[in-house]
């Protein structure tokens, strides 16, 4: 069956350190992989998109890698801050005919001051 897995346990890190979140998938051939941030009681907010032919993408303190051989994406937040505390969701965009997004369950990140 098709699955997207993210670390279900919360990730606690110290302020200033780099947070690394993992997204693994099986039985998909996504054209794009995206990362979203979700705060409690709010809808997800788009952060970064990486295409299947891209290895790495950066935006300010955020970095995403995409390994289609391993079927894995890593999401890094460098110099983390308490304001980065949130749930982070990865999503695959499949493009067979129509466009559908398949989401992982998310990883809760807590940055400790």
């Amino acid at each position: 069956s098709q699955k997207i897995e993210q670390n279900s346990e919360a990730l606690n890190i110290q302020e200033g350190k780099t947070a690394t979140l993992t997204c693994n998938y099986t039985n998909y051939s996504p054209a794009y992989l995206q990362w979203y941030r979700q705060d409690p009681g709010r809808g997800p907010v788009f952060l970064l998109l990486i295409r299947e032919n891209e290895k790495e993408k950066r935006k300010e303190r955020l970095k995403v890698t995409f390994d289609t051989t391993l079927k894995q994406s890593l999401f890094h937040i460098t110099a983390s801050q308490p304001a980065d505390s949130a749930t982070y969701l990865c999503a695959l965009l499949t493009t067979s005919g129509t466009y559908k997004y398949i989401f992982g369950t998310g990883t809760r990140l807590k940055v400790l001051a």
Partner: protein, 114 residues
Amino acid sequence: DAGITQSPRHKVTETGTPVTLRCHQTENHRYMYWYRQDPGHGLRLIHYSYGVKDTDKGEVSDGYSVSRSKTEDFLLTLESATSSQTSVYFCAISDPGGGRETQYFGPGTRLLVL
């Protein structure tokens, strides 16, 4: 923020009653999606639309129907609500293709079925 509104924002209903949730966008995006979010399950796709009157099922479509008669509105109907449909429902829009693959989410509707 992308122009997406959902109504109602909160609803309490009884088992067996019909419920309709509305999603309205002002962005003229082609695609609209309905998700439900439950603890331990993340966001799961219920139905989506890729144009007026063009809809398709997602992974958890049983018990739900949708309609899209205008570009800006996407309705989700629970014909006969059950307690298992208690959830937070999110609408999202996108205009994929041509580099516009970002999905924008509405604020959510919290539904409690008693």
